[in-house]
């Protein structure tokens, strides 16, 4: 058993070390404490090998513990120097590029995560076949109302046509749907517009069905004998709204009216707009269109038929069921809906055109001492400008894409406008920032000049000059920016400082050019 005085000494040493550890910055404290505690154990063993501490041994151990304060202060000072080194990064090209890279990575990551953006990227290409027309009875005032009976469609399809080489028919009915009918959670029924279409509709349109390569419906909880269940194709809007743009939606079973149906894929909104809002498509063989209710007919023009198009319309005369001639109108379905990439380039072009209106496109290279700027420094300066622009452009693309398509409840039409406006605004003001930032960087060390000071006298505006002066923290240059450009002082000027200025700048803040 150790004497009580030993415990007292141990507590004293322990307390000294613990107190010293409070000086050490928190991140390093645990390791510092662990090292000193381990060493103290060896010191105590060396001072009292037989377990009884002598006065001299105790003095040695105490001296050892007092040295911990010096070490703790040293660790703390090293931490401060690290912080100072980080502070030295402020205003450097590296800091600027790092921030841009971070923004780019964040915007790209968001684009990968947002379901709406993922859906938009996965649904391309959206281009449908050209020369598609919607056939309506001549004199029909409302394009959104169906006018063609299934009988007429059947008669046209059976005959050889001069103007058309393909027909498809669809009719829209309202049916109650339970999208999550196989899940355990109760879901309310809703009413969807179901498009009963001839089986060749999507082939005629040339629109691919997305996510249709499912393998085994039984894996998704559906019945094993899935061949008895009719397939349906979701519209893009419903897929985003009710299924959260889930790319694994194909194969799910849902209840449509009185019957169970299997989701076979998603139909992207193409570059045309079919009349009538359709939430889900049910493709059926043609003989099942026995009902008298009228529908819509989409037809594909032959080259001969396309030549007959006049102001997006073509007049057709067809024999009706009783060999009576009837007039019809073929209205072109094509609309211009640009791809996001095209839209981005268009907005970028507009922004570059508008840029000179909001800022000077000069880089402010005018210098009072041009021989100081060697070609390597010029190359460095131009490389930095190029890198900033190269990072800004994808940032604008991804941020605009995130804004436009991030929310799945936005329609495509609205998203196109959001993307156009946001791309234009970000390109315009982003390029303005790039140029302004470039103009305010020291030509020697490429740091941003700081400490703006207003110089000149307001009353002498037209006699002398007044403006702003900014200083490079490295002590290399002074930037004069005139407030009112004149014929003798129109653009900013750099004044190179000689070595006599060095005493003003602390050596710790002077970066090596």
């Amino acid at each position: 058993m150790k004497p009580a005085s030993n415990w007292t000494h141990h507590l004293l040493h322990f307390g000294l070390l613990r107190t010293a550890s409070l000086i050490v910055p928190t991140p390093q404290r645990a390791e510092w404490w662990r090292e000193w505690r381990g060493e103290l154990w060896h010191v105590q063993q060396a001072c009292a090998p037989d377990g009884v501490c002598s006065w001299r041994g105790d003095q040695q151990a105490t001296a050892f513990c007092l040295g911990a304060f010096q070490d703790a202060l040293c660790v703390r000072q090293a931490g401060r120097q690290r912080k100072l080194r980080l502070a030295d990064m402020v205003g450097t090209p590296a800091q600027c590029l790092l921030i841009l890279v971070f923004i780019l990575a964040t915007s790209y990551a968001i684009a990968l995560l947002l379901p709406g953006v993922r859906a938009e990227r996965s649904l391309w290409p959206r281009k449908v076949n050209p020369n598609l027309v919607l056939i309506q009875q001549e004199g029909a005032t409302d394009d959104s109302q169906p006018t063609i009976s299934p009988m007429e469609f059947g008669a046209w399809e059976g005959r050889k046509q001069k103007y058309f080489d393909g027909f498809a028919f669809y009719r829209i009915t309202a049916e109650t749907v339970n999208p999550q009918s196989l899940s355990n959670e109760p879901h309310p029924w809703s009413v969807w517009a179901v498009g009963h279409a001839s089986s060749n509709l999507f082939t005629l349109l040339g629109l691919p069905i997305q996510f249709s390569d499912f393998t085994d419906p039984s894996l998704n909880g559906g019945p094993s004998d899935s061949s008895q269940i009719p397939d349906v194709i979701l519209s893009e809007k419903v897929w985003k709204r009710d299924f959260g743009a889930d790319p694994h939606v194909a194969g799910n079973i849902m209840q449509l009216g009185p019957r169970m149906v299997r989701i076979a894929g998603v139909a992207a909104d193409g570059s045309l707009s079919l009349p009538g809002r359709v939430d889900v498509w049910e493709l059926q063989p043609d003989p099942q269109f026995g009902a008298e209710a009228p529908g819509f007919v989409v037809a594909h023009l032959t080259p001969f038929g396309a030549a007959e198009m006049w102001t997006q319309c073509v007049h057709i005369t067809a024999n009706g069921p009783g060999n009576s001639e009837q007039g019809f109108l073929g209205i072109s379905l094509e609309e211009w809906k640009p791809a996001p990439g095209t839209l981005y380039l268009f907005a970028l072009f507009l922004a570059l055109l508008a840029l000179p209106a909001i800022t000077s496109v000069s880089l402010g290279e005018c210098s009072l001492n041009p021989e100081n700027t060697s070609w390597t420094k010029k190359l460095y300066r131009w490389s930095f400008l190029t890198a900033k622009i190269a990072l800004l452009l994808p940032i604008v693309y991804f941020v605009a894409f995130d804004l436009a398509y991030g929310c799945t409840t936005f329609g495509r039409e609205r998203a196109v406008y959001i993307q156009l406006v946001s791309t234009f605004a970000m390109c315009l003001f982003g390029m303005r920032w790039v140029l302004k930032d470039q103009r305010q960087r020291c030509p020697v060390c490429m740091r941003r000049v700081t400490h703006p000071a207003q110089v000149g006298q307001a009353s002498r505006t037209f006699l002398d000059w007044n403006g702003t002066e900014m200083m490079c923290m490295g002590g290399h240059t002074l930037l004069h920016v005139p407030s009112l450009p004149t014929s003798w002082f129109g653009s900013q000027r750099w004044l190179y400082l000689d070595t006599s200025w060095e005493f003003l700048f602390a050596s710790s803040t002077r970066p090596v050019p």
């Binding site: 090292e35 505690r37 060493e39 060896h42 060396a46 001296a63 513990c65 007092l66 010096q70 070490d71």
Partner: protein, 115 residues
């Protein structure tokens, strides 16, 4: 001024070391790899040895590692942090030996190996 050839890590071999730092490097090279053992060998106080070792580690002349917990547990003591010379440290020590010729006599390398 003529400069000596550079090391791979661009550190010059004639890096100016204090006598204290040179002694610590010599002690480490001699095999005294713990802070307390360096104190005992050099006679320097803990308030000098440990801060000097922090600076040497910052300058990448030495590096530290923790011994395995199992070793410490087997000997019923807390684990210790041990230090080793890096390649740059060895080169700097060679240069310091030329600068301080008595260094090797103060802490002979063989002494530690016989302990």
């Amino acid at each position: 001024m003529a400069r000596e050839p550079k090391f791979p890590d661009t550190r010059l071999p004639d890096t100016k070391l204090s006598h204290t730092a040179a002694m610590i490097l010599q002690a480490l090279d001699a095999g005294f790899v713990y802070g307390f053992s360096i104190m005992e060998m050099t006679g320097l106080p803990s308030g000098t040895v440990y801060p000097a070792m922090r600076r040497l580690e910052r300058d990448e002349l030495i590096r530290s590692n923790w011994e395995r917990q199992s070793i410490a547990d087997a000997e019923q003591r807390p684990p210790r942090k041990y230090y080793k010379l890096t390649a740059a440290g060895k080169s700097t020590l060679e240069a310091s030996r030329k600068r301080y010729p008595l260094l090797e006599r103060l802490i002979p390398t063989e002494e530690a190996r016989t302990v």
